[in-house]
Symmetry: C2
Subunit: 253 residues, 2 copies
DNA sequence: GAGTGGTCTAGACCACGAG
DNA sequence: TCGTGGTCTAGACCACTCA
């Protein structure tokens, strides 16, 4: 009842102060509604003219906000059809860094093995990345991803417990190989942005054993911070794999 | 004389077919004028309203084209001041991949040593990247970049001879440590876009010697294709450095 | 044919920078 | 004060999708 009245009151309120440009406030407002799962991936948004009328702005202004949301990949425009909430596809993105391909050059989806799932007090720097309060707990996952019958990617993952509690209650065997769809299915959390840092370092003794590397070999470590549609951090992870298998493409302007 | 009359005739002609949206044709038209060095870095463009009037389009349409050019980094808008041709700063970009920093964490500009400069028939795959005609020659440069009294980055560079002939005639000692400004100064060529591929591989015997690596160590190889404002390739290079010094950050939507 | 996004127009008013 | 880019409005017409 209360929820509903809040929803109605909020429905076409525009977030943010008056000194911020309207189109930016509209962007944030719609991004928040996606982050709060009011609109789900696959849903169609109201048409531009309807949205503009509902929020009481000119069509051109609403269009500019929607353009920016599309540029950032939160929504997808389909001419003559409508504007849809996108389901970002990041989970297998780690693989884009590595040469996990079959004989035909097709990308392979490695099997996943979940080795640990427990609520912990995370290290300070991770808590700070996740913007946790003092003493707030996180879920720690350790996962190995296999290819050609050996672990190729070792992942340490931290999630804020309060938003991912459903993940703790769920049978481990029922958690699929791609985590981001599971975050959405079990916890209603949608990853929309990621920031990564890549570096090369000596394999730790444990990692060398797990990755079947000989002494002194190098690993690529990819640190990732994942954020929801509103830009709030919801996952921190680090993945390590054999350096020799690394490759990456990028474009810069 | 001829040049001038062509310039005048072209001045406010819009490139491209009528079935391409106007704002895209305006984008290409202005990008071409930058690529052809009609406008140089630092120059101020005519104001939006003037441009729109000159090309006979609505201000909003011209604005959309200019916005896209600014998004792609070819120009820079300064509120209350004007719109300026940007001088992209890519040359020291290779360094962003490596930990070349001093004790205070500031980025260091390594010294350059030009070891080779000659006109060659480039390998087939490089000729194809540069879109050279059959038998068309390229300038090959080999360059080492030094830091802490040792070569840290080995670069093989290929340039289409016909656009970079001025570089062959110039005394080697007068070519500065940053190449892209020299391309502009000596040849009038401006790098506006780059695409890179990064991979990790075993050091070749020669590279291991040059980089002071012991046997079996790894290097990062960064392949780069650089393009002018109109998107035409003007430089291909590969740079190799010690893998252990590699690190990189990126954001993805 | 109805409804959607895509393009283009035309202009008002504001905020900023420099003379 | 003037000219610039930045924002916002209001609406026309086109191109595409789907029933």
């Amino acid at each position: 009842m209360i929820t509903k009245s809040i929803t109605i009151r909020d429905d076409f309120q525009i977030d943010g102060d008056k000194d911020i440009p309207l189109y930016k406030r509209l962007y944030r407002t719609i991004a928040r509604r996606i982050a709060e799962a009011e609109w789900r991936p696959g849903d169609v948004l109201p048409s531009e003219v309807d949205l503009a009328r509902n929020y009481g702005v000119a069509p051109g202004t609403m269009r500019k906000a929607i353009d920016a949301l599309a540029d950032d990949g939160l929504i997808e425009r389909r001419h003559g059809c409508g504007t849809f909430i996108r389901r970002p596809n990041f989970d297998n993105m780690m693989l884009r860094f590595f040469l996990f391909r079959d004989a035909q050059g097709r990308q392979i989806l490695p099997e996943s093995e979940l080795l640990l799932r427990e609520a912990v007090l995370p290290p300070r720097h991770i808590a700070s990345h996740l913007k946790l309060d003092d003493g707030e707990r996180a879920i720690k996952l350790i996962r190995h991803r296999h290819w050609e019958e050996a672990p190729r990617l070792l992942e340490d993952i931290y999630l804020p417990l309060k938003r991912f509690e459903a993940l703790m209650d769920h049978p481990v065997t029922d958690i699929g190989p791609l985590l981001y769809p599971e975050y959405e299915r079990l916890c209603g959390e949608l990853v929309c942005f990621i920031a990564e840092e890549i570096r090369i370092e000596d394999a730790s003794i444990e990692d060398a054993v797990d990755l079947r590397l000989s002494k002194g070999e190098l690993v690529v470590a990819i640190e990732r911070l994942a954020k929801d549609a509103a830009g709030w951090p919801i996952e921190w992870r680090v993945s390590r794999g054999e350096a020799r298998r690394f490759r990456y493409r990028l474009n810069v302007n």
